[in-house]
């Protein structure tokens, strides 16, 4: 796909199926949370993943870090295969510990992701201890304080507990914890959606600064397309476990071709009355179907204004519409 670029993280045909509790033992039902998703992230860039709740974007991020063992597929990190389900059913799994130092995650909910019984210093320091990154006690302390200061907190905050902080500050602690081990790659799983509007911009700016300073690579997961567009160089749009469209962020905003992406973009409320009054929203009918029993063929067909019988029979192919712009839809010519 992008062979000439320096790819840091690559995912091929990643699948993550979760068994449904209570399904028949003869015919086990699965939620196909992530179904055949492939992408590659060049070093130092950001890939954005957007989609509605239940589309599998968070699961993709977590499976990529092997917080869940993937059902199938291949994950390549910096040229090394760290997971491969293989063709003959023999799984290849790398020892993740050294990779955990390089791959980190910032979680969505800063209220739930920090241990309330640990001081902020210990939360940040825990990863330093696990990977033996500090030579001495003083060194550990210096490292923690350096990290806290880097994310806009100060040294006295190290002895406090998470409940003493506001949401924005907690998210800064979460980012400091991820950065403490000097990672190369960070999965940002909706890092700003729990924060107030005026704080969101602070955290986005900080993430961008850190990316430039440390040459970080991000997988940025969010449901807000305008935020994802702002921070990402490339965007993937997911719907019910499948990637439906992927392109550079400007290409997605101005020349998207999947009907779902189109409606997603038109559904975003624009903070400018002149534009929002003039634009006609494409309002999708119906709800997102259950991922346990997704529609046959194209998953989006139940809500798609262009759906035909073909969409129910055959799953659309993942094809390249223009260089670097991929889309899975049967009726691309009509949608345009």
């Amino acid at each position: 796909m992008m062979a000439n670029q320096d790819i840091l993280v690559e995912v091929q045909h990643l699948k993550q199926y979760f068994p449904v509790a209570g399904s028949s033992i003869f015919k086990k039902a699965y939620v196909k949370a992530v179904d055949d998703v492939s992408f590659a992230i060049p070093r130092g860039t950001t890939l954005g993943l957007v989609g509605e709740s239940g589309c599998g974007k968070t699961t993709t991020g977590r499976t990529l870090l092997q917080l869940y063992e993937p059902t199938a597929g291949r994950i390549i990190y910096d040229g090394e295969t760290i997971f491969d389900s293989g063709l003959d059913g023999k799984k290849v799994k790398a020892n993740m510990l050294p990779y955990r130092r390089k791959m980190q995650i910032v979680f969505q909910d800063p209220y739930a992701s920090l241990n309330p019984r640990m001081t902020v210093g210990d939360i940040v320091g825990e990863a330093i201890d696990i990977h033996h990154l500090a030579a001495s006690r003083e060194d550990r302390r210096d490292k923690i304080i350096k990290m806290l200061e880097r994310v806009g907190l100060n040294s006295e905050h190290a002895n406090r507990y998470p409940h003493e902080f506001s949401g924005g500050q907690r998210q800064r602690v979460g980012i400091a914890r991820a950065l403490a081990v000097d990672p190369e790659f960070i999965v940002c799983d909706e890092p700003i959606s729990a924060l107030d509007v005026s704080i969101q911009a602070q955290v986005i700016n900080m993430l961008e600064d850190l990316q430039h300073e440390f040459g970080l690579t991000y997988l940025f997961i969010a449901h807000d397309l305008s935020v994802v567009k702002h921070i990402s160089s490339r965007i993937g749009v997911m719907y019910l476990g499948k990637m439906v469209e992927m392109a550079d962020s400007n290409e997605i905003t101005f020349h998207c071709c999947h009907p779902y992406t189109k409606s997603l973009i038109s559904a975003i409320p624009i903070a400018d009355p002149k534009i929002s009054r003039a634009s006609k929203r494409i309002v999708l009918e119906g709800d997102i179907p259950s991922p346990v029993n997704p529609p046959s063929g194209c998953h989006f067909r139940t809500r798609c204004p262009y759906a035909t019988p073909l969409c129910a029979e055959k799953e659309p192919e993942w094809k390249e519409v223009s260089p670097g712009h991929f889309c899975a839809c049967h009726h691309l010519d009509q949608v345009k």
């Binding site: 509605e52 709740s53 506001s166 924005g168 500050q169 107030d196 509007v197 005026s198 704080i199 969101q200 911009a201 602070q202 986005i204 700016n205 961008e208 449901h223 807000d224 397309l225 305008s226 935020v227 567009k229 702002h230 921070i231 400007n250 905003t253 409606s263 997603l264 973009i265 038109s266 559904a267 975003i268 409320p269 624009i270 903070a271 400018d272 009355p273 929002s276 009054r277 929203r281 309002v283 999708l284 709800d287 997102i288």
Partner: protein, 334 residues
């Protein structure tokens, strides 16, 4: 004197917590006319939901109205007792809450919950109430309403539950609908459906709407007027165009600047509002926004600025406009 549907006059509302008095609303004045859509924008803790609960008369326990008045449709809400309030709630004013998952009762069917409001406020009997419930579900765009009224909330998706909430709220055709972050818990495409529905019903039934949200995008397309709240105060209020194109308060300006623009080709750096939201237990002495304001002056830290009116309906509270006014006047004298 009040011809407005809702008239909030100098309302002070405090929560008396063990840690001290939290002034959730500090001298809030707002009005709303019949058939009008008012957007209330602000961060968490700015007092927007408390304002709504004051209109409904449902302020939670340690909270009390300290001074000021809420007049709704000729009733002085503060002076009514619980029995009289119950007659108004659900009939003349109703509310949609943020989280449709928790605001419906899980052990009653959807039909039951809609009929409850109808039976309480109208002369209808059970059969008629059931028919009305079916009609309401159809009105809010739920298919197969005959089947749905027998279902329990857990059988419905988030968007459907919010539609049921709207059906309950509209059961007695209220004069005012308060929507408290009606779409925050929903996905973008479902959000578009629900907002469209609220506007459609508003036009059909001619009710007034108070839309509480933190999303400037939502208010821009739906509201006639917008009130921006910060730390329990309305810091700017005006028509939608005033707020977006003739912005006066630094906080409003900051909010507008900090939202990423989807349609710009080159992403420029976002201009964030520095600092953290106000600690409501220890609010600053002067203007509550002063510690975060890029143009803060000495006086801002000491005294709360008075309101300055730019037109009949556009006003804001900021010392900068007072200063500009003063300089302007000075020039005129010279």
């Amino acid at each position: 004197m009040s011809e407005h549907l809702v008239d909030i006059q100098n309302l002070h509302l405090s929560f008396f917590t063990p840690a001290g008095e939290v002034k959730a609303l500090n001298d809030v004045s707002l009005f709303l006319d019949e058939g009008e859509v008012l957007g209330v924008v602000g961060e968490s803790g700015s007092g927007k939901s408390v304002t709504a609960s004051a209109i409904m008369g449902i302020t939670a326990d340690p909270g009390r109205i300290v001074s000021g008045k809420v007049i709704f449709n000729g009733h002085d809400i503060g002076s009514l007792d619980e029995k009289e309030l119950r007659k108004i709630r659900g009939k003349e004013v109703s509310m949609i809450f943020q989280d449709p998952m928790t605001s419906l009762n899980p052990v009653y069917t959807v039909g039951n919950q809609i009929e409850e409001a109808i039976l309480l406020h109208t002369e209808k009997n059970k059969q008629e109430a059931k028919e009305r419930a079916i009609e309401l579900l159809r009105l809010v765009g739920i298919n197969e309403p005959e089947k749905r009224i027998k279902q329990y909330p857990h059988e419905l998706s988030g968007g459907m539950r919010q539609r049921v909430m709207i059906a309950i709220a509209l059961a007695c055709e209220p004069k005012l609908l308060i929507a408290d972050e009606p779409t925050t818990a929903l996905d973008v495409t479902i959000q578009a459906q629900i907002l469209e529905l609220i506007m459609e019903l508003k036009n059909k039934l001619g009710m007034a709407v108070i839309l509480i949200t933190h999303d400037l995008g939502i208010v821009s397309s739906m509201c006639d007027r917008i009130a921006v709240m910060y730390a329990g105060k309305v810091i700017e209020c005006g028509t939608t165009d005033d707020i977006f194109y003739n912005t006066k308060h630094e906080y409003t300006k900051g909010l507008l600047r900090s939202v990423p623009n989807l349609y710009e080709e080159e992403s420029s750096r976002l201009i964030a509002i520095e600092g953290t939201p106000v600690d409501m237990l220890n609010p600053p002495a002067g203007c509550p926004f002063a510690p975060r304001c890029p143009q803060c002056m000495k006086i801002c830290l000491k005294e709360m600025p008075p309101y300055h009116e730019f037109s009949d309906i556009h006003y804001s509270a900021c010392w900068l406009t007072q200063k500009a006014e003063f300089e302007e006047a000075g020039k005129g004298e010279e």
